[in-house]
């Protein structure tokens, strides 16, 4: 009896001391040239893409082009490479949790796809390191691909002015609309609204059609970051303010935020939108399916929607008549000229990229693979016959002619785009904004929702010092 108590006590003490090893080890200088001359190399790539499912074309490009071609190239130099692709097809938040846990334990793939907005928090947590630290020497800085990637896009995968990864493209937000429904409602095929009121009027005209939801503007917490990026933020920059301004203040309970929430109220309480859809757990996927089935008139989304969702052959919710029936228009500011920088039209750009796992066993080879994936040939191969805004200017120039949406976004939309702040606290601000839109959709007044949003923001930021309000 006495012995077992002692044993338990000893075990607990041991366990407790083991638990004291919380947090990452202080940065041990990993030799970036380790295994540089290895002739048997194994690498892993991971992305939130799966053949036949989410982001299918990226998955198929990796499995059918990148891996075989790279293995062949390396074989010519006498190096045997095996590459594995870890696919996944889950919500972005779940994918983020998984790779955060992987990187934290030093496991996971060698090349990891991440969203640009996560770079700040991952870097702060020590999960990723600047490319030059992981690879060492001048290899990274001397890569010729950087000249082809413009600064704003590079900034998406940078933090504190250091490059953490290679961007995998950029994007822009537009209003997609169903031309067939527009014709039914007597609206023009080349519709381009110039104010929020124009959009609302088009919605009211569509209200007359049976079984059709006029407008889908993402709202609520179930849709996660999709609410913020394809809903609240494009509207916010249309009122003339960014979520984190140059004055280093976050938008709190300001007139701009109240205007944004006011538009939500107008859409979701007068029958122009479907409030229930915003609350369902699979609401976003359902909205895609409904648009593809011709049951939604106007939907704000990024070009991802065009090329990966309603794409007629490989999309998640394929729309066979996409090229004939789907039109696109720039997102208008609240009034002409009321957007940031005095713009009449606005957009938000995001995009992700690929980083190197600092715990990779083959840093040199992993960088070679990463550079290969971002080379001009590989990028052209990914685009194929489709439409995609790549990160490289040279590829963009070549393929601009292929798809009208791509050239539209590259020429008209991206120059107008604003970006999300790469600050570690942004995801919590985004969540508070999503909650505010959910409150309005479920019947709370914009003023009350904005006040609650202000309180949530104060809790996140630890005080009202960095928050603008009026």
């Amino acid at each position: 009896m006495h012995r077992s108590v002692c044993a338990v006590a000893l075990g607990s003490v041991l366990a407790l001391t083991a638990t004291a090893c919380l947090g990452s080890d202080p940065e041990e200088e990993q030799d970036s040239t380790r295994n540089a001359d290895a002739t048997e190399v194994s690498l892993t790539i991971t992305a939130n893409a799966v053949a036949g499912g989410k982001n299918a074309e990226e998955a198929e490009w990796i499995e059918n082009y990148v891996i075989p071609t790279f293995i062949e190239q390396q074989a010519e130099d006498g190096v045997t490479v095996t590459i594995e692709f870890q696919s996944s097809g889950v919500d972005d938040e779940e994918y983020k949790s998984r790779i955060a846990l992987d990187l934290r334990t030093g496991s996971g793939a060698d090349i990891v796809s991440i969203d640009g907005i996560w770079v700040g928090e991952f870097a702060d947590a020590g999960y990723i390191q600047p490319l030059t630290d992981v690879v060492g020497g001048d290899l990274v800085d001397e890569w010729d691909g950087w000249e082809q990637i413009n600064d704003a896009v590079q900034a998406n995968m940078s933090f504190n002015d250091e490059r953490y990864g290679v961007p995998a493209g950029s994007d822009g937000r537009v209003l997609f609309f169903n031309k067939a429904l527009f014709a039914q409602a007597g609206l023009p095929e080349d519709w381009q609204p110039t104010s929020w009121e124009d959009v609302l009027e088009a919605g009211r005209a569509l209200q007359g059609i049976e079984g059709v939801t006029p407008i889908q503007l993402n709202a609520g917490t179930a849709m996660g970051e999709a609410t913020t990026m394809q809903g609240a933020l494009p509207l916010l920059v249309g009122t003339g303010a960014e979520i984190y301004g140059e004055d280093e203040l976050w938008q709190g309970n300001t007139q701009n935020i109240r205007d944004v929430l006011g538009l939500y109220e107008e859409i979701y309480t007068t029958g122009l939108g479907d409030p229930t859809l915003q609350q369902e757990a699979q609401g976003r996927d359902k909205s895609f399916a409904e648009f593809a089935a011709g049951q939604i008139g106007i939907l704000m989304e990024g070009d991802y929607f065009w090329r990966s969702v309603i794409e007629p052959t490989a999309g998640v919710a394929p729309m066979p008549t996409r090229d004939e029936d789907v039109g696109y228009a720039m997102v208008p500011a609240m009034e002409p000229g009321s957007g940031i920088n005095g713009q009449d039209f606005v957009s938000m750009s995001g995009g992700g990229g690929r980083v190197l796992n600092p715990a990779t066993e083959f840093p040199q080879q992993a960088w070679e693979l990463l550079a290969f994936m971002n080379s001009a040939e590989a990028t052209k191969e990914l685009v194929g016959d489709g439409a995609r805004l790549t990160q490289r200017d040279d590829v963009n120039e070549e393929i601009l002619a292929n798809d009208p949406l791509l050239s539209f976004i590259a020429e008209e939309v991206v120059p107008l785009s604003a970006y999300r702040p790469g600050l570690a606290v942004y995801p919590e601000v985004s969540l508070a904004l999503q909650q505010a839109t959910l409150d309005v959709v479920t019947g709370v007044s914009p003023e009350d929702a904005a006040a609650t949003y202000q309180t949530a923001l104060e809790q996140v930021l630890g005080g009202a010092d960095d928050i603008a309000s009026d």
């Binding site: 006495h2 638990t19 919380l22 947090g23 990452s24 934290r104 229930t276 570690a424």
Partner: protein
């Protein structure tokens, strides 16, 4: 193996070496033998050690780990992931003052009360009682169906229920002729309560079947002869015998339901947090929100609540006896 014998005792002279080993006191009441098999404490410990290691690694260590990170501001990402700071009881005070936590606690208690204490108990007992006298094939069929609901994997079951309750093409709406009624949005708690009753009744049914079989048939015969009604038989003969079983069953299913994460697969915390029971709340804040220190503190609070519930039942159990 060092053989040390305490001066107060003496090894039985004709024992084989092994059983006298171990170092330490030997209980005189043992009668001189440490164990029947002749292993001795060291070898016995060696046998138990692998299991103990597993328990330590997978139960004890995570528990202590949770205690530890509960007093820090540890996060999954961000600066606090690299250098977490000790914050003392801040996480606990924050939890107890957080409206979302209190709402979650309230929802969990409602969930446990209606789906476990009343629902599964009641339905399980009713099924066991009715099936007592049922014909063989009826009994087997019903038991199989009820068991099937219990043993199917959670993700599959969740998907079936989502398909059942879907607003546009769900089976329930088709049966009732109410197209467009979003059950999971308008009646979220009711949906998950009924789901959980359907899911977990099997255990109560099996337990009560066994319990009812232990009621002396002679007493039931006497009651029948005397002309007692079914309800009187239940109240005066059956319940006194199965009281202990009722309490045990209620304790078990209360604790299991309190910690059940499956509703997340159906409603993900419900429209605007209306089905955010504690396990879902912890998942949302700790994994999706990244606040692991806070999540650990809430987990400990949950454990304490579980202990209180368990102690309450055990006290009742002791009183009845």
């Amino acid at each position: 193996m060092a053989q040390t014998t305490s001066p107060a005792t003496e090894a039985a002279p004709d024992e084989p070496d092994e059983s006298a080993s171990g170092g330490g006191t030997r209980d005189p009441a043992d009668g001189g033998e440490t164990d029947v098999v002749g292993l001795g404490k060291w070898r016995a410990s060696a046998f138990v050690a692998p299991a103990m290691v597993l328990v330590a690694v997978f139960l004890v260590f995570p528990a202590l780990w949770t205690l530890y990170i509960g007093v820090t501001n540890y996060r999954l990402t961000g600066v606090a992931a690299r250098t977490p700071e000790f914050v003392g009881l801040d996480n606990y005070t924050q939890a107890l003052g957080d409206a979302n936590f209190l709402n979650s606690l309230y929802l969990t208690l409602v969930f446990v009360l209606f789906s476990a204490v009343i629902g599964q108990n009641g339905l399980g007992f009713a099924l066991a009682w009715r099936l007592q006298d049922a014909r063989g094939w009826v009994k087997r069929l019903v038991e199989s169906l009820v068991l099937l609901a219990w043993i199917l994997p959670s993700s599959i079951v969740a998907f079936l229920w989502i398909a059942l309750l879907d607003r546009d093409s769900g089976t329930l709406n088709a049966l009732l002729g109410t197209p467009g009624l979003a059950w999971l949005i308008e009646y979220p708690m009711a949906s998950i309560i009924i789901f959980n009753i359907w899911r977990g009744t099997a255990f109560s049914m099996l337990l009560y079947s066994a319990a009812l079989a232990s009621v002396p048939p002679s007493q039931l015969e006497t009651a029948r002869l005397v002309g007692a009604s079914r309800w009187q038989t239940l109240r005066d003969i059956v319940f006194p015998h199965v009281r202990g079983h009722v309490l045990t069953n209620t304790l078990l299913i209360s604790l299991w339901t309190f910690n059940d994460f499956t509703p997340f697969l159906i409603t993900a915390g419900g429209p605007n947090g209306r089905t955010e029971i504690l396990p879902v709340y912890i998942y949302n804040t700790a994994i999706t929100g990244g606040e692991m220190g806070y999540g650990a503190a809430v987990s400990l609070i949950m454990l304490v609540i579980n202990l209180i519930i368990a102690m309450f039942y055990l006290r009742l159990l002791r009183e009845r006896k």
